[in-house]
Symmetry: C2
Subunit: 451 residues, 2 copies
Amino acid sequence: MNDLIAGVAASLRPATRGPSLADIVEMLQSLPRKQAARTLAQMADEQAVGALNRSDFTTAPEVLAVLPVARAVQLVARMADDRAADVLAEMDTHVAALILAALPPAVRRSLDILLAWPADSAGGMMTTDYVAAPAAATVGEVLGQIRTAERSREAIYSVFLIDDTGRLAATVSLRRLIVADPASVALALADAGETVKASPDTDREWVADLIRRHDLLALPVVDAEDRPLGIVTIRDVVDTLVAEHTEDAQKFGGVEALDRAYLDTRFGAMIRKRAGWLSILFLSEMLTASVMQHFEDALARAVVLTLFIPLIMSSGGNSGGQATSLIIRALALGQVRVRDWWRVALRELPAGLVLGSILGLLGFARIATWQGLGFYDYGPHWSLIAVTVAMGLVAIVTFGSLAGSMLPFALQRLGFDPASASAPFVATLVDVTGLVIYFSIALAILSGTLL
Amino acid sequence: MNDLIAGVAASLRPATRGPSLADIVEMLQSLPRKQAARTLAQMADEQAVGALNRSDFTTAPEVLAVLPVARAVQLVARMADDRAADVLAEMDTHVAALILAALPPAVRRSLDILLAWPADSAGGMMTTDYVAAPAAATVGEVLGQIRTAERSREAIYSVFLIDDTGRLAATVSLRRLIVADPASVALALADAGETVKASPDTDREWVADLIRRHDLLALPVVDAEDRPLGIVTIRDVVDTLVAEHTEDAQKFGGVEALDRAYLDTRFGAMIRKRAGWLSILFLSEMLTASVMQHFEDALARAVVLTLFIPLIMSSGGNSGGQATSLIIRALALGQVRVRDWWRVALRELPAGLVLGSILGLLGFARIATWQGLGFYDYGPHWSLIAVTVAMGLVAIVTFGSLAGSMLPFALQRLGFDPASASAPFVATLVDVTGLVIYFSIALAILSGTLL
């Protein structure tokens, strides 16, 4: 007990009184690599480990790699194991192997388990730093176990109760343990029914969803025989949600997800992440040139038609982007399932018609006003042109809303992430079809007069 | 103590053994309002309150409003106070007032405090259901206080220590209390330095940021005199992050944030949330028609130039959208500050030039190939046209990357949320300027030949 109190007292010393860890990390991130390594090397162990443990210290792998190996080993050995695994996984494999080999055997073993799983799986997110007690233990015995457990970064959220065969029998929350009679059996305090748990290959989005749905503070990760491997906490979920938000935003913007902070991404990597999609979109959008070539005669006879092409195309893309962004989130939140596609279609069809009509009226008004006030002369058939533009808008906005809303369903159905439906992807889809729709309407309305 | 054990035992009874609360909420959400109310009225109190307490039960306000007032009052009185306040805030004010008036005075008082703050502030997010002890208390006394505290939805994350004047002196985690000697003074276990806390009007994004930065499980909310008002937990942060993700995605897609699930949003509300931005974008995009009218002579003489307008414009919009989505997240995560705008500009300028050159080469190759293979005849000056298109792409993609990356900085600088820089907003900005750039390059290169 004295050791423990001394440990608590140590954490009260000046180290934690100065700048907060968040500030220290920010400072280290802003320094050039070598200078950051020198600063880290000179810090008290406690503080250096605290900084390295923070997931916002994104340059930690590079900074550790520059440190003398012996010092890096000292620090990694004291880091939280899940964070240490994440950092090692991002390091040059050669340097990571050197550090791993020099770690104490117990630390190396738990890191080996964590490193076996991808970072975006339950196995990659979990820590092996959980508290377990036999299923037959009393409340008092379990509390004793917690008191003697090593101090660690992770707060204790719940305790695993293990049966004779090593399987996870149940979990009990710290809250219930404190409230209960120390002589009672801990297992009686467990939640009834199945214990919610995950296997190490469970996807991180599903892990976050389990924790949210079941209102957990921590989720046990078990192997195929139900033996506990580790624990994923609600804190890990917060990090996951933030990372996902960033990835989704970048994907919707038509960029492959960057793995690091914007300013930490090398120029070449940045170009690669952007050039791929830009080029694919560009090649698809070339179809617009083909469509225009196809309608070249009409274009040459009625140049006035071209004036509205950017306006009409962008409106289709905009309405499509709106619908896509709404449906991506509705699917992600489980508010809508793939089987609901027709309910969405039945909403987007009238929504598109109404929105298209609003824009159509605005477009008609614009042409009529410019003609009436003499700002521009659209020729004797100006009213037919205005009708063409208005009807084009109704048709294209309706098509955009429908196509934009159905695209995430199609992607989900085909086994892709619906969030990979980006705004530019939808815009490209709608641009090509939109031009065909516009020219078809123009030919129908204007043939015999302008065309 | 016996009461408490009976309470815990009660929660083990069949109520929790059947379908999980998550399943029950899903079922209630899928029913028509009146039928959901009938089902809810027939459930055991425990289960009904459990379902109402879940934030994914988004139709709870409507369902409660359909229940007989006496039954609604019974249920609301037993709900977690922060969730009850959220639900009442969303109800018809007349019905909410009826329910509030009939609640037990103690419940009404704590709800009145919570209802005084907007839902997206610390005051609106917090629960008043925290545990406080005098600053002079021993560890044993504080643990006793926890044991006698009423059972509640919120797990206990930490305990407030209050000084003689009623101010928050410090917070202590449950973990430390369990580990410490019961006879020691609880205050000695507190974190050194300033206690991290928020005032009730703190914005929810800032609350989430504080909890993440300082690795907290719960954040105290205090009044101007430092007296505790409530507590915001990491669970509330998870809900906040998910809500923000949805809002940001909708804003980036050019939709005003919906307040409810997609299928629960009324048709009229859906149109209003979408028509506003669509119309503003449409009116701005009308400038493209004006630009085209301005260059009408050139268009009439070289219809071939119009063929590439959609291609070039969309490329500018796509590169702008990429840059915007990258910078919005970098700003949100604090990876980039407003004062870093020039560092971003110095990256986006060369990035835009490289990306533009890649697309320019693709564009040139396309025209040369079609001409060479006889798919299309761009006329005797085809090579000049190809150069025009290629140079237009370099200029417009560079402009798009720069404009798209600077827009979130400009919005932040002007006091707006950088996340309101939507993809269609950037595309519109780039479209209008892009056309001017394209035609200017065409006039410079082609005058004397085609123009």
